[in-house]
């Protein structure tokens, strides 16, 4: 697991920059868990009682820049505006079974990703127990819980929609370097 800074977050209906010099930039539709209370050394049985609610995350990543699969570097996972979060926070009490939610991603209207939170390698209580065993979690902290298979490259202009049952649809559009007032870098440039 890895940390992301607040600058990477962008809300519903945002635009995320896709650099010109990459071959594989992909979405990652994930269940996001928003903590509602301080959690330190919390066991899995008490874990969900510390959760304020849930929403959807789209944790874009650029495979070209990845150097270590288990410790993704800043350039992959801390890019400005590259982690969409939203569209709104759903209270925990309105999500009766967080372990049985279908996730779907659509690119320009075509479904490209399908999964279910029952397939998480570590379930939400397990994640809270694991993390809180060495780092104190605070209200407002957000845990992104992983993405199923079905990630594909997206290009400038693509409209990406991530959905999770009961949590709505999170929309994002890929934009170019020029759209952000940036000069495009090309492979081989220093």
């Amino acid at each position: 697991m890895f940390l992301k800074g607040p600058g990477t977050l962008i809300g519903h209906r945002g635009r995320t920059r896709r650099p010109a010099d990459v071959t594989f930039m992909h979405y990652e539709c994930e269940l996001a868990v928003v903590m509602g209370a301080t959690a330190r050394n919390v066991g899995r049985r008490e874990a969900l009682g510390h959760v304020a609610g849930y929403c959807i995350a789209n944790d874009y990543a650029i495979r070209d820049y990845l150097e270590n699969w288990y410790r993704p570097n800043l350039r992959v996972k801390n890019r400005d505006g590259a982690t969409a979060l939203g569209p709104w926070l759903v209270d925990a009490e309105d999500v009766p079974d967080v372990a049985n939610l279908e996730l779907r991603t659509f690119v320009n209207g075509t479904r490209t990703q399908l999964g279910n939170t029952r397939d998480l390698v570590t379930d939400v209580p397990g994640l809270i127990e694991y993390l809180s065993s060495f780092m104190t979690l605070h209200a407002g902290d957000v845990i992104l819980t992983g993405t199923p298979e079905g990630i594909v490259n997206v290009n400038v202009g693509d409209h990406v929609v991530c959905e999770i049952d009961g949590l709505g649809s999170l929309h994002n559009t890929l934009a170019s370097d020029a759209d952000f007032g940036r000069v495009a870098r090309h492979p081989g440039a220093s």
Binding site: G5, G7, T8, N41, L74, R75, N78, R79, D80
Partner: protein
């Protein structure tokens, strides 16, 4: 303000010198690292960017005091404690 790319870094464990290296030997100079990171990530006043450390790094045990001294910057002390000795 000293040149960040020409500083000696010394690590002490219980006041014994255990490693020393110069920031000259780091993979990227500070200015280059800042340029590389800020290309994709905005840094704001108060943000801290660590420049990296030389390997191998010295090991220490609970009960020992670590001192990291950088010429012109100061010496940072920190003590390692066991989990059992820390209040829950």
């Amino acid at each position: 303000m000293p040149d960040p790319d020409d500083l000696m870094v010394r690590t002490f464990v219980d006041d014994r010198l255990r490693s020393r290296y110069s920031t000259t030997d780091l993979v990227r100079p500070a200015a280059r690292l800042l340029a590389d990171v800020t290309e994709f990530m905005t840094l704001r006043p108060g943000d801290i960017l660590a420049l990296g450390a030389a390997v191998p790094a010295p090991r220490a045990r609970a009960g020992q005091t670590i001192g990291v001294e950088i010429e012109g910057v100061g010496r940072l002390h920190n003590r390692l404690v066991s989990r059992a000795s820390v209040a829950a």
